[in-house]
């Protein structure tokens, strides 16, 4: 069953054609990886799924992205509601310069999901537990989130997303600023989370895609070249470009 279905989707940054007629169906409760060399459009595609690209001046689109059957580029779509349902974790951990607690509570408050303190407390605890941070920082909830290590900051950013209970989590190279040990642990976390969330991840690291994703999309110069089971992409790709990329001939 597909959760996200992209149909004839194009995106332009002013005059630059960044995504060319993309068609892809992303399955529910799986990890889908998007790979490709820098500038291939994989992050742009990811950022189109929660319309965070709207905040970039000059970005405009055509075509559809349907989530649970609804076109999110429809004029009636409430973008704030969309972004609540489609969470995003960025390349560089970006906790807000406020306390750890307030970081997790932020989404609950702005979306008016909860205003009762005990409900918020409970959700904060649950979210931090889900990212395996709770035991380490439960005594430091009032401390600034910026004092955490990068790995913990990234976990916090994931907790912040989980707190508002999205269906989909988008991750844009979530491990690129982390060391290998932290990367491994974030990957383990993602594997755990896939049972509850549809996860789409952009990665620069092909091994990472091979390790944890179910499906992999290979993109090149704004086009989707191939979208298949991860295993097939890495062992027996049908397109020459994919093979050249995964075997390291370019990129």
């Amino acid at each position: 069953m597909s959760k996200i279905s992209v149909k004839n989707f194009n995106l332009y940054y002013t005059n630059f054609h960044a995504l060319k007629n993309i068609n892809i169906n992303i399955k529910e409760k799986r990890i889908t990886a998007m790979i490709g060399p820098s500038g291939c459009g994989k992050s742009t595609l990811l950022r189109s799924i929660n319309r965070i690209n709207d905040t970039i001046e000059g970005a405009h689109t055509s075509g559809e992205i349907n989530i649970s059957g609804k076109n999110i580029y429809d004029t009636e779509m409430d973008v704030d509601v969309l972004r609540r349902n489609v969470g995003m974790v960025f390349q560089r951990p970006n906790p807000f310069p406020i306390s750890i607690y307030e970081n997790v509570a932020f989404g609950l408050k702005v979306n008016r999901i909860a205003s009762n303190k005990s409900v918020i407390d409970e959700t904060v605890e649950k979210s931090l537990k889900a990212v395996l941070l709770w035991d380490d920082i439960k005594d430091k909830l009032r401390k600034s989130a910026l004092d955490l290590t990068l790995e913990r900051q990234q976990r916090l950013c994931i907790a912040r997303v989980i707190a508002v209970a999205p269906y989909i989590i988008l991750l844009d190279e979530p491990c690129s600023s982390l060391d290998p040990v932290a990367t491994r642990r974030i990957e383990e976390l993602m594997i755990q989370l896939k049972d509850e969330y549809t996860i789409v991840m952009v990665t620069h690291n092909m091994q990472q895609a091979a390790r944890i994703s179910y499906d992999t999309a290979f993109m090149l110069l704004g086009e989707l070249i191939e979208f298949e089971k991860t295993e097939k992409i890495f062992t027996n790709p049908s397109r020459k470009e994919t093979e050249d990329y995964v075997t390291g001939r370019f990129g």
Partner: protein
């Protein structure tokens, strides 16, 4: 030869740098010498808490409490007006305005900073003062309230430009993170941008206060210069700066009155020093992030 030029230029630059420090130290030393002599003769507590400023009475009274109250009232009034408007303007310029309007507004605000204070005082005197007198139906429009309004105009450019800097330097990824969680633009501004920019905004306010507290010409023209402790903001007041400017010409060099004015200068210096110090503290904090 090239080495010599290097050494010469380095020395010149060093002297220029050290000169400004020397000037500050000399000014402070001079203020301190004259002011301190006064404290010794008259008593510092009597000076600061004395309720009457009347240098020509017998015995002469040098209580600067009315002047401190005057300065404080005008400054606080100016802040109450300038801070909300200034910060909102900064927010509008940096977050909301389309590019064309932003550029126009920015240059207008900078132009505002270039208006000489005597012009602000003059314009206030002929427009605002009569308006305040008639509108509030009070005997004179030369009040602390009028002074606050005019000073707010003078503090605003400082507050706007420095706050705008602080708001604009809030990293984009904070905002992106907030949008990605479903926050609206206003929620993002209120909960994240303002919080992240707060040290810079406080520094801006402090520098604005520093400008207002030291301002002389406009307050002298508008606030009525009555050295008494006012009951409300709608009464004339006299500030510390206006007292020094107005009375320095009447004193005899070296007498008590002369020294008292230096002592006021010293008090003013200490206050502005503290305000600027706090501003620096917050500016440093906002840069370290």
């Amino acid at each position: 030869m090239r080495k010599i030029i290097d050494t010469v230029i380095e020395t010149v630059i060093f002297i220029c740098a050290i000169l400004s420090i020397i000037f500050v130290v000399l000014i402070f030393g001079f203020l301190f010498k004259e002011g301190f002599a006064f404290f010794k003769d008259f008593g510092i507590t009597k000076f600061i808490t004395g309720k009457f400023w009347n240098p020509s009475s017998n015995p002469a009274l040098f209580g600067i409490l009315p002047l401190i109250v005057g300065s404080t009232l005008v400054t606080v009034g100016a802040c109450v007006i300038a801070v909300p408007i200034g910060v909102m303007t900064a927010l509008y310029i940096s977050e909301i305005a389309p590019k064309g309007i932003r550029d126009i507004l920015k240059s207008l605000v900078e132009l505002m900073a270039a208006i000489p204070s005597v012009v602000i005082g003059f314009v206030g005197m002929i427009t605002l003062v009569p308006f305040v007198r008639i509108f509030f139906n009070i005997p004179t429009g030369l009040t602390a309230f009028s002074g606050s309004i005019m000073l707010a105009f003078m503090a605003m450019p400082t507050i706007v430009t420095i706050s705008e800097d602080a708001i604009r330097s809030v990293p984009w990824h904070y905002k992106e993170g907030a949008f990605a969680l479903g926050a609206t633009k206003w929620q993002t501004i209120r909960r994240i941008v303002l919080k992240a920019a707060m040290p810079g905004i406080i520094a801006a306010i402090m520098l604005g206060i520093g400008r207002v507290i030291g301002e002389t010409m406009a307050v002298m023209m508008i606030t009525g210069n009555a050295a008494h402790i006012p009951d409300s903001i709608f009464e004339p007041v006299r500030t510390m700066t206006a007292t020094i400017a107005a009375e320095m010409g009447e004193t005899v060099r070296g007498d008590m009155h002369y020294k008292a004015l230096f002592a006021i200068g010293l008090v003013l210096f200490v206050i502005t020093f503290i305000v600027n110090f706090i501003a620096d503290l917050f500016l440093g904090k906002s840069k370290n992030k």
